[in-house]
């Protein structure tokens, strides 16, 4: 995904592991309409996983 560097992705993955989140950065018991928050059934658009997580957790964005 353009705009999200590898370091940020690594930080997000680590944050998910350390905080026991599900693969989308939400609480592990979270369920979604259609089974994933990354696919919009109204528009057919698919979001990048990291883009979705950063929208909800902007504090994880890379600080340069």
């Amino acid at each position: 995904m353009a705009g999200i560097d590898e370091e940020t992705k690594r930080r997000i993955d680590q944050w998910i592991r350390e905080n026991g989140r599900n693969e989308f950065g939400d609480d592990p018991g979270t369920a979604y309409a259609g089974g994933t928050p990354l696919f919009n059934e109204m528009t057919g658009r698919r979001l990048d996983k990291y883009e979705y997580i950063l929208k909800r957790h902007p504090e994880l964005r890379s600080r340069r």
């Binding site: 599900n22 018991g29 309409a33 089974g35 994933t36 696919f39 698919r46």
Partner: protein, 567 residues
């Protein structure tokens, strides 16, 4: 008196054999839940005239000249009764028909009607619902529309209430709802503040044939709205587990869950198991991971996972896949055009304003309710066992490979309903068979002492009934999909009983049980309807026929031993 007894016995024995010969005898269908309905429409510019039979060709020519119309025979077979048709200027039919009806040479004059066998709803945008045509909805509707079946939609709620805060979506005016629950806000008003749940419910039971919008597949079914997802489309596994149990305890026959997550959750699994044990069919969207694995709860064995296809019947790119997929259904594929989504009424709040309109969505969320609705159609035909309905859906599916993508194939509602009708007829004839055996037993009992030998009251009717009904009685208890049904549908139990038998009455009893089991297996093989079809990795017929033959063998051995054994 003896003649009367003989007559009763003859009728009863004839009844006993009837189910076995019946498949060769052509007959009409049992009364359907909905009488076969047709539609007719007046054909503009055409009329039908039944002229007097005595008119000659010259008289018919005179008729042409008199009305300035070219009357012609409807077919080569119509010359005896002078059944004529004619093309006229559209708009002039009524006046011409009025003149013709007064003509003594004419017996009847009517506008031309075109009849269609299939009932078609008058919803103006039904023609855009390629998905319903793909699965044969119109032919299914000739037999049933889902009446009497409750489908719980566990989702974002449904726009179904009308008060100062809530609003019923425009094409749900006559949709039937039963009491639901909102697990997000903990109240009894599970209204939709997202739009997803209403769209899903529309596919199942949107008000149909109301000259508005589009149709739902099982539009006479009842929706149980249950809200577990919030206005952003997210929710917790705890609420979903609660909702599944609540639906099962409050009369749902089918649960549709167009939701899920990537991680299994034990509480949700236990809730699914609870509902399945209560006989609820749980239909779930496989997920929209784009070729990734099936999500949960769809991947639980208690659930029926549905993948999605587009208008071509091919797997949509967004669909999840895996060995847990049970069946595929239309979910839309807007990559080939906006019209290739699934069109239903819903209420959206994207712009901050309430927007009640018809929207084209795509996803396995849209595929799952097609299957739930088709299951409702089957259940409304009288097939109540969830596992049996699941098997009917899979048997009826149009085969498509690979199984990881399509499961048993693409949903076929028309064939599902036809198979459900067959299954109901099967049960009906089994009941007749049992009644006939019972009557025969009474007859045998009445002349006890004169018949003697192999069949002696009460062992004969009891053994036959036990053998014939036993496997079905147990499978209704253990469930249609249990592997234990393989044992029940075999000659192993009669063989074991033969092994243990020691006295004359027991040998006779075992003989009649074994004959009952053999008849049951032969019947199931004949009807291609065995409860372990999905369990055994082979076609069921050879197993059933071989075991039926062994059952007959066991019966013969048991009776032979009864002659030699002491009482």
């Amino acid at each position: 008196m003896r003649h009367l007894v003989k007559l009763v016995m003859a009728v009863a024995l004839l009844g006993t054999g009837w189910p076995l010969v019946r498949p060769w005898i052509p007959s009409g269908p049992l009364p359907a839940a909905v009488p076969a309905a047709g539609t007719s429409a007046v054909v503009p510019g055409q009329i039908v005239v039944d002229a007097r039979d005595s008119l000659s060709d010259a008289d018919l020519d005179a008729l042409d000249r008199k009305y300035g119309v070219d009357f012609r025979l409807n077919s080569v077979h119509a010359d005896d009764e002078n059944l004529l048709i004619a093309d006229v200027t559209p708009g002039t039919e009524a006046a011409l028909l009025e003149r013709l009806r007064k003509d003594p040479a004419v017996e009847a004059a009517e506008p031309m009607h075109r009849y269609s066998i299939n009932w078609t709803p008058n919803d103006p945008r039904f023609k855009e619902q390629w998905n319903l045509k793909l699965i044969g909805a119109e032919k299914a509707w000739d037999k049933t529309r889902g009446k009497g079946v409750v489908v719980a939609v566990i989702d974002t709620g449904v726009a179904f209430e009308n008060d100062d805060k809530c609003y019923r979506a425009r094409d749900f005016g006559e949709t039937k709802f039963t009491k639901g629950y909102d697990f997000v806000n903990d109240d009894e008003h599970p209204n939709d503040d997202h739009g997803h749940g209403t769209h899903v419910s529309g596919t199942i039971a949107e008000t149909t044939n109301n000259a508005e919008g589009v149709a739902g597949l099982a539009f006479e079914a009842t929706i149980m709205p249950i809200k577990v997802l919030n206005e952003f489309g997210g929710g917790t596994s705890a609420d979903i587990a609660d909702a599944i149990r609540w639906a099962a305890d409050n009369g749902a026959h089918i649960i549709n869950m167009s939701l899920g997550g990537s991680m299994p959750d034990m509480a949700m699994r236990m809730a699914c198991r609870y509902a399945a044990k209560k006989g609820v069919l749980i239909v779930c969207a496989a997920g929209n991971s784009g070729g990734g694995p099936v999500g949960y709860p769809a991947a639980f064995p208690e659930c029926f996972a549905v993948s999605a296809v587009g208008p071509s019947g091919k797997l949509a790119r967004y669909s999840s896949v895996g060995k847990q997929v049970g069946i595929a259904a239309p979910g839309g594929d807007k990559s080939t055009g906006e019209n290739d989504g699934i069109l239903q009424n819903t209420v959206l709040f994207d712009t901050g304003q309430r927007e009640d309109d018809y929207f084209s969505f795509q996803g396995t969320s849209m595929a799952s309710p097609h299957v739930a609705a088709a299951a409702a159609l089957a259940m409304s035909m009288g097939v109540k066992d969830a596992a049996e309905v699941k098997q009917l859906l899979q048997r009826a599916a149009t085969p498509q490979k690979p199984a990881e993508h399509y499961g048993a194939g693409v949903l076929n509602a028309e064939k599902t309903v036809a198979l459900a009708e067959d299954a109901r007829r099967d049960s009906f004839w089994k009941l007749i068979f049992s009644l006939a055996v019972g009557l025969a037993g009474l007859g045998v009992g009445a002349v006890r002492g004169r018949v003697g030998g192999l069949l002696r009251f009460p062992f004969a009717p009891l053994g036959l009934l036990l053998g014939f009904w036993g496997p079905d009685l147990v499978f209704h208890w253990i469930g249609f999909g249990s592997p234990f049904n393989i044992l029940l549908h075999s000659a192993l139990i009669p063989l074991y009983l033969l092994w243990e038998a020691e006295s004359k009455p027991v040998y006779r009893f075992v003989g009649t049980i074994s004959l009952g089991v053999a008849l049951h297996l032969a019947w199931d093989a004949w009807q291609a309807h065995a409860p372990f079809v999905g369990v055994l990795p082979m076609h069921a017929a050879p197993w059933l026929y071989v075991n039926a033959a062994v059952g007959v063998g066991v019966a013969l051995v048991a009776w032979a031993r009864s002659f030699r054994a002491a009482d």
